[in-house]
Symmetry: C2
C-alpha cells in the first residue's frame, strides 16, 4: 500500500474532482459508507476467489478469547477469528444501504461514491491492495435509459480528462449464457466456461479454449464455441458499424429464441441511446463478479500508433437486479459502473495528460521570511494580511540566515518571497521579489497581492 | 460505523473544503497515507490503552496457517494472528513517512492530511469507531513560530465555519512535570497523576484528586497539587489577561528553575505570537497520547448563554520531537494539530450553522421527463444540451405516467422540470416549469439555461 506525497495527492484530487463534477452534472448524489463492514455482509457476494481476497479484521477482547477457547485447537479458523472486514467494492455496501434505508431514499436513487476498497491480492502494475473506486449507480429502474446514461457519464468523464481512443464494450450475461447453450454446453459447466472466457483479455484464444477442454467441456462444444468466437472477432475487427452485424449474423439464438432476441434488442437499444460509435457489442465479454444479471460493460483504451502498448480496461460495470434482495425483503433493480482511479492515473502520468497548473503546482504563492527574532510578529502579521488578500502564504518557520531562507524558498518552488526588515517596518512597506524573473519590488502591504497577481496573469 | 446519505456527505464536504482551503492558504501541502499500516508501526506509540484500541487485521493464507500451527493451543494470541492494522491516528503515519522519505521532502515539511482513522472504542455521542481527523503538522523546526502558526490556522478554520465562542488551551508537558515535581510527587508516579489530571474535563476535581490518593500518591503531595490547581483555576476563572498571572504567580518552579522559566517563556511567546485573547495557558491540560514532548494544546467551545451545554474539545495537538526518531536514524522536531471533523459536524448541526445552499441542496437543477418510449432519445439529447449549458440535469429513468414523473421530481426537491413532447420536438422548443413558483415557459433549447439562471438569481 502506498503513501501519496503532495504532488501525487494534487493529481489524484484533480481527477477525482472532474469525476465528481461530471457525476453531479448527471444528477447523481454522493454517498459514503464505512470502510469496515460486517464480514457476513461481504461473504458470498464476489465468488470463491473474492471471499479469499477480503481483508478480515481480528475479533477483539472477550470475543477473541471466546473464539480461541471454543474453537479448540484444530477448529480455530479464519471465519471464527474474524467478525469484520474491509470493504471489497462499493456495490455490495450500496445494496446494503438501499435495503436498510428504503424509506429515506427516493424511488430512483442515483448515487455516486468515490472511496477506497481493499483486496488481499498480489500487487502488480496499476494494481494495488488499497485502491480507489469511483462508482455511479442507478437503483430502482429496469429501463435501458439507465445503462445509456451511465455509459454517457463514464464517457464524458474520460473525455474531460483528455482520453480519446477508448471504446465501451457491451454485453449481456444472458446473451453469453445463450451462446454457451446454443453450443451445447451444459448449465453446470457455465462457471468453467465463464472463468475461461474472462481471460480472453490476457491470454490467447488457443489457451482459453484449451483450458475449457482440459476442465471437462466436450471438444465438439468447444469447437462450436470457438467458431462463434471467430465470427464475432472477425466482425469486431472489420470496422465500426459492427453491432448490428454481430448480433444478427454471428450470435446464434439459444433454446429460447424469444429471450435471445429480446436480449439482442436490449443491447441494440443501449447502443442506439448512447449514440456515436463508442459502444461496441462484444458477446465474449464476461466480467469477473458473480452478481451481474443483465447488461455488462467495460471501458477500454484502444491501441494507437502513438501508444502501441494496450492499456486495457479503465472501468466496468453492469446490471445486478438480484443483489439488493439479498439484504432486504424487496427485489430492486440496479445498474452501475465503476471507474478505476489508479489505472486512469497511471495512464495519465505515462502520457503527460495533467494540465501544467497541476503538474507543476507549488505549496504557496508567496513565502514570508523572518528577518530577526525581534520581527517575527511582524512577519506573521504580514503573512496574515497577504492571506486576507487571497494569496496562499507560507512562513519560513524560524529566524535564520537570509541565504538559507532563499534556498528553502527555491527548494519548495514558491515563486515569490517577501521580506520585512526593520527599515521596511519603519516605513510601512514590504520588499518582495519574483524568484523566477529576479525582479524586485518595494510597496505598501496593501499593494502586494495586486502586483503579484498582475505578474501571474 | 455509519453510512452517510447524500445530505450528510454534502455537509461533510462543505466543512472539509473549508479546512482544506485554510490549510492551503497557510502553505500546508496535502499528504495521504494508506489506511492499513504494519502492526509493528502502530504498537507502542499510543500507550497501553491505545494498543488495545487498534483494529488488527487477520493474517492471510499460509501465514495464518503457520500462526495457528506454530502457536500451539494456548499461545495463539492477538499479536501472533495479526500482521497489519488500521490507522489509529494521522501523526504516527506522518512520522513514518518523514523518516522514510527524508530526501524527497523539503527541509521543513508542512503537510495537512484529512482521512479517516479507526479505534475499537465503545461508541458514544460524537465518538465513533471510524472517524475523520483533519491534521496539520510542521516538521523540522523547534521554533515557537510553528506552534503560533498552527494555532492561527486552527482558529481561522473555526472562524470561517462560524464558531465564535472558543478558546485555545495551551500547556507544556514539561511544565506539568515541573508542577508535579514541585509538589513532591515522584517521577515514577507521573503516569498515575497524568491519567487522573486528564479527567479534569469530565470529572469533578474532588474525584480526580481522590483517584490520585487511592492509586498511591501521598496525601500531603495531593493536597499541595490541589492547592496549585485551585490557584490556577481561580486565576483562569477571573478574566481574560490570565496568562501572565498564571505563569508568574500560580505555578511553582520545580527542581530546575532555569528549565521552569524557559518553559514558561515558551508558553508566553506562543500566546504573544498568536495575539488576541484566544490562547489561555492552562497548566492542568494533560492530553492523552504518550508521544508529546513539549507544548500541548486543545481548542474548546465555551459555555454561552445561547448554548449552555458545554460542547468541549474540537481538536488538539502538540509538539512531539521524539516520534520521528523512532522510525529513522535522525531525530527531527515536529508539532501538529488535529481537528475532529465529527465533533465539529455535530455542533454545527445542533446549532444550525450550515449555509442554506448546503442545508437545502438538491441533486440537480433540472429534471428532464420522458414523454413516451419513442421520444427517449430526444430527452437524453435535451439533457446533454442543458448540461453543456452548465446545468446539473437528472433524467427520469424510464417512460412513465406524467403525474408519477412530477411526483418524483418533487420528492427529490429538484426545482425545475423539462418536458419534450412530440409537438415541442416538431417545433424545436422545450416546455419547462418552475416547480416552486408553478410558472411555465416554452422556449428554444438554447434559451433554457439562461431563463433558469435568471430565475435563480
Amino acid at each position: 500500500m502506498r503513501d501519496f506525497l503532495p504532488a501525487d495527492v494534487r493529481k489524484r484530487n484533480y481527477v477525482i474532482n472532474i469525476i465528481k463534477e461530471v457525476y453531479e452534472s448527471y444528477g447523481f448524489e454522493p454517498l459514503e459508507t464505512p470502510s469496515v463492514e460486517n464480514l457476513e455482509t461481504l461473504m458470498g457476494k464476489y465468488g470463491d476467489e473474492g471471499n479469499q481476497l477480503v481483508f478480515k479484521i481480528l475479533k477483539r477482547g472477550e470475543k477473541l478469547d471466546e473464539a480461541l477457547v471454543t474453537g479448540g485447537n484444530a477448529s480455530v479458523n479464519e471465519r471464527g477469528l474474524s467478525d469484520l472486514a474491509l470493504r471489497y467494492d462499493l456495490t455490495v455496501p450500496l445494496a446494503r444501504v438501499v435495503a436498510n434505508n428504503k424509506n429515506d431514499l427516493p424511488k430512483f436513487f442515483k448515487r455516486y461514491q468515490i472511496q477506497p476498497v481493499w483486496r488481499a491480492d498480489r500487487p502488480a502494475r496499476g494494481r494495488f491492495r488499497e485502491f480507489y473506486q469511483c462508482d455511479v449507480d442507478c437503483i430502482g429502474s429496469e429501463s435501458m435509459v439507465v445503462e445509456a446514461e451511465i455509459i454517457s457519464t463514464a464517457c464524458k468523464i474520460l473525455e474531460e480528462l483528455g482520453f480519446v481512443n477508448f471504446i465501451v464494450k457491451l454485453n449481456d450475461r444472458q446473451l453469453l449464457f445463450d451462446i454457451l447453450n446454443a453450443c451445447g454446453i451444459d448449465g453446470s459447466q457455465y462457471p468453467i466456461a465463464l472463468t475461461a472466457i474472462d481471460k480472453l483479455d490476457k491470454m490467447s484464444p488457443d489457451d482459453v479454449f484449451s483450458e475449457m477442454q482440459n476442465k471437462g467441456i466436450g471438444s465438439a462444444n468447444v469447437i462450436q464455441l470457438r467458431n462463434v468466437y471467430n465470427k464475432v472477432y472477425e466482425a469486431w475487427q472489420s470496422g465500426i458499424e459492427v453491432n448490428g452485424v454481430v448480433l444478427s449474423q454471428c450470435v446464434p439464438n439459444g433454446k429460447d429464441p424469444d429471450l435471445s432476441s429480446r436480449v439482442k434488442m436490449r443491447l441494440r437499444e443501449i447502443a442506439d441511446l448512447v449514440g456515436g460509435n463508442k459502444v461496441v457489442v462484444q458477446p465474449f465479454l464476461a466480467r469477473g463478479l458473480s452478481y451481474y444479471t443483465g447488461a455488462i460493460l467495460e471501458i477500454a483504451l484502444q491501441k494507437s500508433d502513438e501508444y502501441p502498448d494496450f492499456a486495457g480496461s479503465l472501468g466496468g460495470g453492469g446490471r445486478y437486479d438480484g443483489l439488493i434482495g439479498m439484504f432486504g425483503k424487496e427485489q430492486i433493480p440496479a445498474c452501475g459502473f465503476s471507474l478505476g482511479l489508479e489505472r486512469i492515473l497511471v495512464v495519465m502520468e505515462e502520457r503527460g495528460m495533467f494540465p501544467p497548473e497541476i503538474a507543476e503546482s507549488t505549496p504557496a504563492d508567496v513565502m514570508v521570511t523572518i528577518w530577526s527574532d525581534e520581527t517575527v510578529a511582524d512577519s506573521l502579521k504580514l503573512a496574515n494580511e497577504l492571506r486576507a488578500q487571497g494569496l496562499r502564504v507560507t512562513m519560513y518557520p524560524q529566524a535564520d540566515k537570509e541565504d538559507k531562507q532563499w534556498k528553502y524558498a527555491n527548494s519548495i518552488g514558491v515563486p515569490w518571497i517577501c521580506t520585512v526588515n526593520q527599515e521596511d517596518i519603519d516605513e510601512g512597506v514590504v520588499s518582495f521579489q519574483n524568484l523566477r524573473t529576479r525582479e524586485k519590488y518595494r510597496e505598501p502591504v496593501s499593494k502586494v497581492s495586486a502586483k503579484i497577481k498582475e505578474q501571474a496573469a
